[in-house]
Subunit: 292 residues, 2 copies
């Protein structure tokens, strides 16, 4: 799995840098391009584009076929981080240990850099050698899962839940839009790029749902395990804890049980594929026990 991961990662990094070249000396808008590149090429786990490549290969396609969609999904993810970090949203100064986009380029330029990356995502998604039907249907799916019925909708739910207690249904709806939707886009787009069947697409969505929810709930578990004194004080009874994560709603044991249940669902979904699922299986399993 490690070799495969390193290979995918290398392909993704190269393709992203190629998709958004450095500005030419004569470009008067060089700053916004540099701001876009700053966040896009900052590294990161590249979870989403790797999933696109893996599902494309699993459905019999090539890495090259999947590259435009893979880059597009990562650009959508990156724009959402830039805008999320802005002062009017989460007001974060650091991202992956580096100053956030608006800290380096200013708020106005960060806003434009996010807008530019979101726009570029759709240009790149439509830029490959894929058949027009495939390019168009994949790109439309990406837009629908990234927009008000998907990721942007989830951010709205998150924003309005800020400082409030929410029930489990709301929490699940929030994560299924905010996080799972783009992971589902990543997996589905791999299948679409390869010309996969409807059954494969449906299985890819179930896998995405499984690892997406497991990823999110594991996040909440790590939040608590990361600070044991907080654990003792907050879990179960402390009313000051915002009831908007799985641990505060269910307790740490039940939350981790859910992580494993969702991971199991992802692994089950892989059984619908006849190809080599080793990478995707190991990937799902590693998310369930990750420590950071």
């Amino acid at each position: 799995m490690k070799n495969k991961e390193a290979f995918y990662l290398e392909q993704v990094e190269e393709a992203l840098a190629r998709a958004l070249p450095e500005p030419k000396a004569a470009d008067l808008q060089g700053t916004v391009i540099r701001a876009m590149r700053y966040s896009l090429l900052l590294g990161g786990k590249r979870v989403r584009p790797m999933l696109t490549l893996a599902f494309c290969e699993l459905c019999g396609g090539s890495v090259e076929q999947a590259i435009p969609f893979a880059c597009a999904v990562e650009m959508v993810h990156t724009y959402s981080l830039i805008h999320d970090d802005m002062p009017c949203m989460d007001n974060d100064d650091l991202r992956r240990g580096k100053p956030t986009n608006h800290k380096v380029f200013g708020e106005a330029m960060a806003l434009l850099a996010g807008d530019g990356l979101l726009t570029k995502a759709f240009e790149v998604a439509l830029s490959g050698e894929l058949k027009a039907e495939i390019a168009a249907s994949g790109t439309r799916l990406l837009a629908s899962l990234a927009g008000d019925q998907g990721m942007v909708g989830g951010q709205c739910i998150d924003l309005e839940a800020d400082g409030k207690s929410v029930d489990l249904t709301t929490l699940q709806e929030m994560h299924s839009k905010k996080t799972v939707a783009l992971i589902a886009a990543a997996c589905s787009l791999g299948c679409i790029a390869a010309g996969g069947t409807e059954q494969q697409l449906e299985a890819a969505r179930r896998y995405a749902q499984g690892i997406g929810m497991a990823f999110q709930i594991r996040d909440d578990v790590l939040d608590v395990l990361g600070s044991p004194e907080k654990l003792g004080k907050n879990v179960g009874v402390d009313e000051k804890l915002q009831k908007r994560n799985y641990v505060s709603l269910l307790g740490v044991t039940e939350a981790q049980r859910l992580v494993e249940e969702y991971t199991g669902k992802a692994l089950t979904a892989l059984k619908d594929f006849s190809g080599n699922t080793e990478f995707l299986r190991a990937f799902a399993e590693s998310l369930a026990v990750r420590e950071r």
Copy 2:
């Protein structure tokens, strides 16, 4: 022309409202959808989508064929206004006589509403009954003209020119990206929707270039004519006037002459079409003498 304009306007307003329906009661992300609708359905001249419809008809297509592209272009325009009005950009409180999006919904929600509209634009562009080749190539063109090489690039140039004197070349580059690019997208997408020829596309781009520049320079002329005491004080000699508009660089007479020159270029471009160009001719002429 007035009848045609009213007809186009009605088609556009109906299609926009249909493309972004009111949230259902169960939608937890209703607020962002309401914020998107607030700005999208606020009215306005609908210059861009009307151009898309008119060029589609001129190239032998139907209004219905052009509607997805027309809505997409207007959504891109609307998102750019929402983000432009935000405190970190122009910090405007009013738009078309109504409170700006962030004044009504707050900054974070306005940011999301803009992101949602930009995303929706690409979903809608790919949603019609057009052949996949046409949908994909039109949508890719929209993305390239709206992004860092087009509108977003122009906004970056504008931002960096703020408070500085710029030369005529920079001014033209700024407007050709910030304003003309999306108008060119609007005109081109009409031709593409109709399956127009390469020659028609090229003529549509020349028309767009002509009316786009004329529109922008007329804006600068009106700025000055609108306040005569400012005219006497500022034009030509006053060093305090930011040298970043056509009147301050060229004087009002030469600027208006340029408006007419660009309008003439737009009218010449129409000669390459064999269909009825009456609407587009009258449209170009009206822009050159508009008073607001």
